[in-house]
């Protein structure tokens, strides 16, 4: 157990990030369990504590009498400096136990820009960074979350990756580790890795060899032992009504990013937006029933004391019984002053009556995501919404008293022209004019947020060459010149951060050395603009003799072997290629939950099916 000097805690920002004792945190005697697990998200406490997946795993693991799970997040730079200068190893919040003492350390990998923090945390823990350097006495380093569907750039540092949903496989993992420990760690670390490789959905990168072509592309990724499967396919929970949910989440003292109850309505989204990785990775759509949701909501209010419930999912307005569930939650919690909120709204399923019922009433703005500025480009990305949808939604909102609207877009989408970019400005003015038409006054506030598109693996745009940073910056200037009205606020993403994200999103194992040298030269918290050190990264690429453009901005041919071709989301490469063709042809693909099956491969390959309350009635 670590002891913390008050002098350190008095000096750092928000010391409660490091002292634990939160409500619902679980403390167990480590000598009474078979397996100890440290669960982490490699970012600061307020971000890590907001992750729903880790809350679920924490509960599942701590429900087991043979297992303890504790939490650890990345110390902020001030605390890191204190820990290094006072030789304090990275420790967990529950029992202040050094992370190096755990059997398993799990990292939730939500975005590529957090990889440098994984290395930094391992180093702070005193754990050797490379999987090859760690023997059976070191913790097993496990990755989960969407990045594992191409974890290759981080493969050198992880012992295994979990593909897909964690509820069931996390127990398989613990059981394999417990049995291996009980069997005197037979055949050492390699013995454990081979046992793990036999769990469906578990990818052990060191059991695969990668061969490259002369042009630098991947020739093949093949298992180097019989225990490893040629293709690892994701895990998926068949019915969300019957799995454990985070009904007793840790309630933090300090304000975190999502400081409220997260009630997950459903998993998956089959709208089929072609840029969207989550839309592929989390297929198929599986709804929780209204009865399950109401029961979970009651348990959550009782166990947390939160007074806000956020109805989360990839596209909550698509939940088949949304108005009824919202009404029953409002009725249930009226006396307790618990409010209900929706994190995002789709323009085409926006209902003003619903918005008025929700907590949005108190808030000043509504947020919509048209994603692209022209109908043509929205058809390319299969977003499906029309200007009429926007007029109807925003017009209704203005009529009901809202006066500010946030619109999210991307630039750098396939086939984009300057005309499409300028279409973003046109939409912004259209919304301002609409306000005048509806209310007879001026003074609406429109915020335009434009991200730089990063092509992701396992999407129809996985072959697409990302725009160069200079091209993004040119388009940003072009748009900025058009957005001169003081009622319009224009936000944009840093093009260089998006470029680096683009390289790592579709990178291969050779990027491990880039990551290592960038970290050694001070890269960490790359997702935080004040800490992002672009030059350190470019120097690391140069030192390794690797061109980041090869990964980020190069258009691939459809026949190229991708570094992640042996990792399956269930959706086939044929389906993704077909969708890319449809995109370029500006042809829409309909949503399989309401229309015919698009044969993406998920239901066929994984023996699962869409669970949609609306279709069962």
């Amino acid at each position: 157990m670590i002891t913390l000097d008050p002098a350190i805690l008095n000096r750092v920002l928000k010391p409660a990030r490091y002292t634990g004792n939160e409500w619902n945190s679980v403390k167990k005697d480590h000598s009474t369990v078979a397996v100890t697990v440290a669960l982490s998200l490699p970012d600061v406490y307020e971000v890590g504590m907001s992750n729903l997946g880790l809350k679920i795993l924490y509960q599942i693991l701590n429900n087991r009498t043979d297992t303890v799970a504790e939490r650890v997040y990345a110390p902020w730079v001030d605390m890191e400096a204190e820990m290094r200068s006072h030789n304090i190893p990275l420790y967990t919040l529950e029992t202040l136990t050094p992370v190096a003492d755990f059997d398993i350390v799990g990292f939730s990998l939500q975005y590529e820009m957090s990889y440098s923090n994984v290395l930094n945390m391992l180093d702070l823990a005193g754990i050797p960074l490379l999987s090859a350097q760690r023997d059976e006495n070191e913790p097993l380093i496990v990755g989960g979350g969407p990045c594992t569907f191409n974890g290759e750039p981080a493969a050198d540092f992880f012992d295994c990756f979990i593909l897909g949903e964690g509820e069931e496989i996390i127990e398989d993992l613990v059981e394999v580790v417990a049995a291996w420990k009980q069997g005197a760690k037979a055949h050492g670390k390699l013995g454990l890795l081979k046992n793990l490789a036999q769990i469906p959905g578990m990818y052990v990168p060191s059991l695969y060899d990668v061969a490259y072509n002369a042009d630098g592309t991947v020739a093949e990724v093949v298992p180097n032992c019989p225990e490893a499967r040629p293709v690892v396919t994701k895990r998926v929970v068949k019915d969300l009504n019957t799995v454990e949910y985070a009904t007793r989440p840790v309630v933090p003292f300090l304000d975190i990013v999502h400081d409220r109850i997260m009630l997950e309505l459903f998993r998956g989204c089959t709208r089929g937006c072609r840029f969207c990785q989550a839309g592929v990775l989390y297929r198929p759509v599986r709804e929780r029933t209204p009865e399950t949701l109401l029961k979970l909501a009651k348990e959550l209010v009782d166990s947390t004391g939160y007074s806000e419930i956020s109805l989360t999912s990839l596209s909550s307005a698509d939940y088949s019984c949304l108005p009824a569930v919202v009404q029953s939650l409002i009725d249930e919690f009226k006396e307790e002053n618990v409010s209900i909120s929706l994190p995002s709204l789709r323009i085409d399923s926006f209902s003003i009556e619903l918005a008025q019922k929700l907590q949005q009433v108190r808030k000043s703005g509504l947020t919509f995501a048209p994603e692209a500025g022209s109908q043509r480009l929205r058809d390319v990305i299969n977003k499906g919404v029309t200007e009429q949808n926007l007029d109807d939604a925003v017009g209704a909102a203005f009529g009901a008293g809202w006066s500010s609207v946030k619109l999210y877009f991307m630039m750098g989408l396939p086939t984009e022209t300057d005309e499409d970019v300028l279409g973003i400005a046109k939409l912004a003015y259209r919304v301002l004019d609409l306000y005048k038409q509806v209310t007879g006054r001026r003074g609406a506030k429109v915020t335009i947020s434009v991200a730089c598109f990063v092509p992701k693996p396992h999407t129809p745009f996985q072959w697409f060459g990302q725009d160069m940073a200079a091209e993004f910056e040119r388009k940003q200037r072009l748009l900025k010149a058009q957005l001169r009205d003081r009622n319009i606020t224009f936000n944009w993403h840093d093009a260089r951060t998006s470029f680096l994200e683009g390289a790592f999103a579709r990178g291969d194992r050779r990027l491990g050395q880039v990551l290592l040298s960038a970290w050694k030269n001070g890269a960490r918290f790359d997702g935080w603009s004040e800490h992002f050190k672009y030059n350190v990264w470019m120097e690391a690429f140069e030192a390794a003799g690797i061109d980041p453009h090869f990964y980020a901005t190069r258009e691939r041919t459809l026949t190229e072997v991708m570094p992640w071709d042996h990792l399956s989301s269930g959706a086939t490469k044929e389906f993704l290629a077909r969708e890319y063709g449809q995109a370029v042809g500006e042809v829409l693909t309909s949503d399989c939950r309401h229309d015919q099956c698009t044969v993406c491969g998920v239901c066929q390959e994984l023996d699962v099916k869409v669970i949609d309350g609306g279709n069962q009635v």
Binding site: P6, P15, E22, L254, V301, D302, S303, G305, S307
Partner: protein, 231 residues
């Protein structure tokens, strides 16, 4: 409407949470305990909770005071039992009483805070500590420069002292007892008094390692000190 006044603690387990965090932890505990708390009206209703005095990050307390307003009647022992079960580690309930409806707010009446400050010696001996404290106690005026993100401001410390600072020795540490007035126009933090002792009176302690603990909050006049729950 009934107003329950509680004497509660802020223990070692939650030493480093802020006053706002402390208040919201209690609010959530009240919801978990299913106590019928009253809320303000309006678009953004908030629970009717009020505290006597904010406690800084890094400071513990054995006696904080808080009023909760209830919509209905709650039998005290039952209500307290439920609340205690729902409170996080580090918050205990010492006492609870219903107050008469017209009683003034805690903030308006509490005018004295007492602290224990336990701090390690750096060098020297206790004689030097006694000397620093004696010189501070005898001084008519002591000016401390308060630094905040908004800027610097000179504050006269002695106007807020409710008595002489006491000093005793415990192993390698000094225990200072500091009584501070809380006035309608302001007050001073015990950490600032300690900083002035170190900077101006050469107190030979490691002030960054000080453990500050509030021992009481009182309604005081020239003769008596009463707890807000004893009015």
């Amino acid at each position: 409407m009934a107003r329950l006044r509680l004497e509660i603690t802020k223990g070692e387990e939650i030493r480093y949470i802020s006053h706002l965090d402390y208040a919201s932890a209690i609010e959530r505990a009240i919801i978990r305990a299913k106590l019928p708390a009253a809320y303000s009206e309006g678009f953004n209703p908030h629970m009717k909770l009020s505290f006597a005095s904010a406690l800084a990050v890094g400071v513990t307390s054995q006696a904080e005071y808080m009023d909760i307003e209830f919509k209905g009647d709650v039998e005290i022992s039952q209500g307290v039992k439920r609340l205690v079960m729902a409170l996080p580690l580090g918050i205990m309930v010492n006492s609870a009483n219903y107050m008469p409806a017209k009683v003034p707010a805690l903030m308006a009446i509490v005018n004295l805070a007492t602290y224990d400050v336990l701090v390690p010696f750096t060098t020297g001996e206790f004689g030097a500590v006694e000397d620093s404290i004696r010189r501070f106690n005898e001084m008519q005026e002591v000016v401390h420069t308060r630094e905040t993100p908004k800027g610097r401001k000179d504050i006269e410390v002695k106007q807020y002292m409710a008595g002489a600072i006491g000093a005793t020795v415990q192993d390698n540490q000094v225990l200072l007892t500091i009584d501070i007035k809380i006035t309608p126009t302001g007050s001073i933090k015990p950490g600032e008094v300690l900083a002035a002792l170190v900077a101006i009176f050469d107190l030979n302690v490691d002030k960054d390692r000080a453990l500050i603990h509030r021992t009481g909050l009182y309604v005081a006049d020239s003769k008596t000190r009463r707890k807000p729950t004893e009015l």
